[in-house]
Symmetry: C2
């Protein structure tokens, strides 16, 4: 089944927002063994919408649009149905009911004069909007066995309407496939793509292709190597997975593999600590809370993460983290000594098993010849010892913060795994 997505959003093409619906839908469908064939982002411009929707309906079985179903004058989606299928707009009691109920949910009264939610093309079915106000639209092209769906642009509403209203219809349309699918994923760190496939494992790509379609995906300072597995029986799938695990575990890549699966490094850190019943705290300067924010994005992190001292100013490093003023004076805030004191003191003050620290220069200002923008000292402390390592990265302020935090998590995971 071919599924295609059209994002109606001038604001994406003007750089004001990034698309979230395409990413969410791709991920959702992938977990169901389906995928998106093509995504097109277009302006709120009726002639363009008509041509793009028409082309998409020729190529695909299910076409989903996102955006343009709101109450304002730049919301054009319903006119696409009107012009493409020659359907007059008319009052739909069903759409009226949905809008009325949704307004009630927000303790408001639906007043038809302020919007046209209930005025939709004849023959088009309105879809409930479980989290928002505007009804979605659904049209079945019976002759061609195809669907056109129109959903809201707001991600929260898009997701709930797709999950609850649209996906059941797609599942019905689909001839249930008997093929089992799984995406085998290996997460590596700190080796560039062409070094992996060119130097370290020159035959790897070819070997992997005998298992399924291979992909290589650059991440933050790491490469994900993926293989799309298919089989008719679960035992065949398991056999392939075990063979792949063996292949990777005996390869020259082993020291750089930090995970088999799709989990993020913060998820792996939280689950590993959770299994060991150990705790974590932090002390951040240049990353300003990015590390603790990433860790607390993980559900269940509260069982292992105690807290962090974000010491952006030197005085806070002294007062809250008990970094010695002499170290700051003698070596500077971005130094091995201060990074070690930060990690060690965070661990002791917050009483955790492990602690990390970061002190560096995220720029764009604040760099010097000895300590240019991109310099960072990362400290790690546990009961055995406390140490720090220096790194030098490139990028703008946000990129540097992200790289600093990623490197910190690589070091931290190693430390956690190597401790008894």
């Amino acid at each position: 089944m071919k599924i295609e997505l059209i994002l109606i959003a001038s604001e994406i093409l003007e750089g004001k927002i990034t698309d979230l619906n395409g990413h969410w839908l791709a991920h959702f469908l992938n977990l169901k063994g389906l995928s998106i064939e093509q995504v097109t982002v277009v302006r709120d411009h009726l002639p363009t919408l008509l041509s793009v929707t028409n082309l998409a309906l020729q190529r695909s079985d299910v076409v989903i649009t996102s955006g343009g179903i709101g109450p304002t004058a730049d919301d054009l989606t319903k006119f696409v149905y009107r012009d493409l299928f020659n359907l007059a707009l008319e009052n739909s009691p069903q759409a009226y009911k949905i809008a009325e109920k949704n307004y009630q949910r927000f303790d408001k009264i639906f007043e038809a004069k302020f919007n046209n939610y209930h005025f939709i093309p004849r023959g088009v079915t309105p879809l409930n909007n479980p989290k928002g106000l505007a009804p979605g639209l659904s049209y079945f092209l019976a002759n061609e066995n195809k669907y056109l769906f129109s959903l809201p642009g707001v991600p929260y509403e898009f997701q709930s309407m797709f999950t609850e209203e649209v996906f059941p219809l797609i599942e019905e349309l689909e001839h249930k496939s008997e093929i089992l699918r799984e995406h085998f994923n290996v997460r590596t760190k700190l080796i560039p793509e062409e070094k992996i496939f060119g130097e370290i494992c020159p035959n790897l790509w070819q070997e992997l292709e005998s298992f399924g379609q291979v992909s290589s995906l650059p991440q933050v300072m790491g490469i994900d190597i993926g293989v799309s597995l298919e089989a008719h029986h679960q035992e065949d799938l398991d056999k392939k997975k075990n063979e792949l695990l063996k292949l990777f575990s005996t390869s020259s890549l082993t020291p750089n593999i930090w995970h088999f699966g799709h989990e993020s490094i913060e998820e792996v850190i939280v689950s590993t600590l959770s299994k060991k019943k150990q705790t974590l705290s932090g002390a951040e300067s240049c990353t300003g809370g990015l590390c603790s924010n990433r860790i607390t994005d993980v559900s269940g992190s509260s069982t292992v993460f105690l807290g962090s001292i974000i010491s952006y100013s030197n005085q806070v490093k002294i007062d809250q983290l008990h970094v010695s003023p002499e170290s700051l004076e003698k070596f500077g805030a971005v130094s091995e000594e201060v990074a070690i004191e930060m990690a060690k003191n965070a661990r002791k003050l917050l009483n955790s098993d492990f602690a990390y620290s970061l002190t560096g220069i995220a720029g764009p200002s604040g760099g010097s010849i000895e300590k240019p923008v991109g310099t960072v000292w990362i400290g790690i402390s546990d009961k055995r010892c406390s140490w720090a390592k220096k790194f030098q990265f490139k990028g703008d302020r946000k990129q540097l913060k992200l790289r600093f935090s990623q490197m910190c998590f690589y070091l931290l995971l190693d430390e956690i795994l190597s401790s008894s």
Copy 2:
């Protein structure tokens, strides 16, 4: 000039990564008075690439592809040029030189046997990759006065190659327009779109349309209202802007407008504090560092932001923030009393002019009937007083963290602006 973007990235369609290049390019072009007409996301599949590129070249003057120029077997872009324009692949000394120089920059030696960076279609010009290894591709269709460019998928490389190599060629191609353009933007908070245009200011949309194209863009708990202004002279543009400012400043929307312009709320907070020479600190529980991370994303935040205590566990609230164990015992961590103590003590301990605090339940677990998931107490403290307000939001863990932080920033900005 029509500019179109094709993202070659199966990994986007499979939901593994989100696109960053489209967003960046749209934003970059917008600042130059240009924009993207259409974005298409396609798979690494040669027949699809050929058909999509061919269609785009029919519609647009400049077609830019992103991705698929790396060294691995799923990198197909050069074959698009070969097949579309019937150009044989051949050794390009120019491409060889670029690859060689880029390897040197990373202290590595370019070995042609490990990749094919130097092997490109005849007549296609290689583009330097200022931040990465793989050369880009550029082809000028002289008869039609059109360009096809192929850039890397890695955002960092895409951006630098576009800025340094591609954009000067686009500028050359463009007949310099004499029209001055500016995007007037009003950032509002806490009123839904249809309430603004349906109830509060029912004539606003029409009034704004007399100035230029109007857009309404939902943000996190707020709406951006935009008007695209055009004029032949700067004074005409300024006149329009002043009229718009007056229109909004005397409208019923005024109490909900927090900014004229495109800056984020954290940027406005940092610049306002900076002008007042005042400082800020924080105390976060449920948001886990998201607030301090957002603030420290702003360049120059180090002059106003001192630090924050991320007190995820109650013990850290007691030990580091000096929250009284009695308050925690009597009212619970998610309470007015604890939020006030957190903000007040953060301000005193870190010695700042303002402090914020957040304590709530981001879920998915930890909720109760009295304090369901989505409950948050936000505290604000300055020299005049310390107080806290309770809010109740909906969403998943990350959405709730974002909404909590956004509400905190709305309250904080009000407090900063109302203080002398």
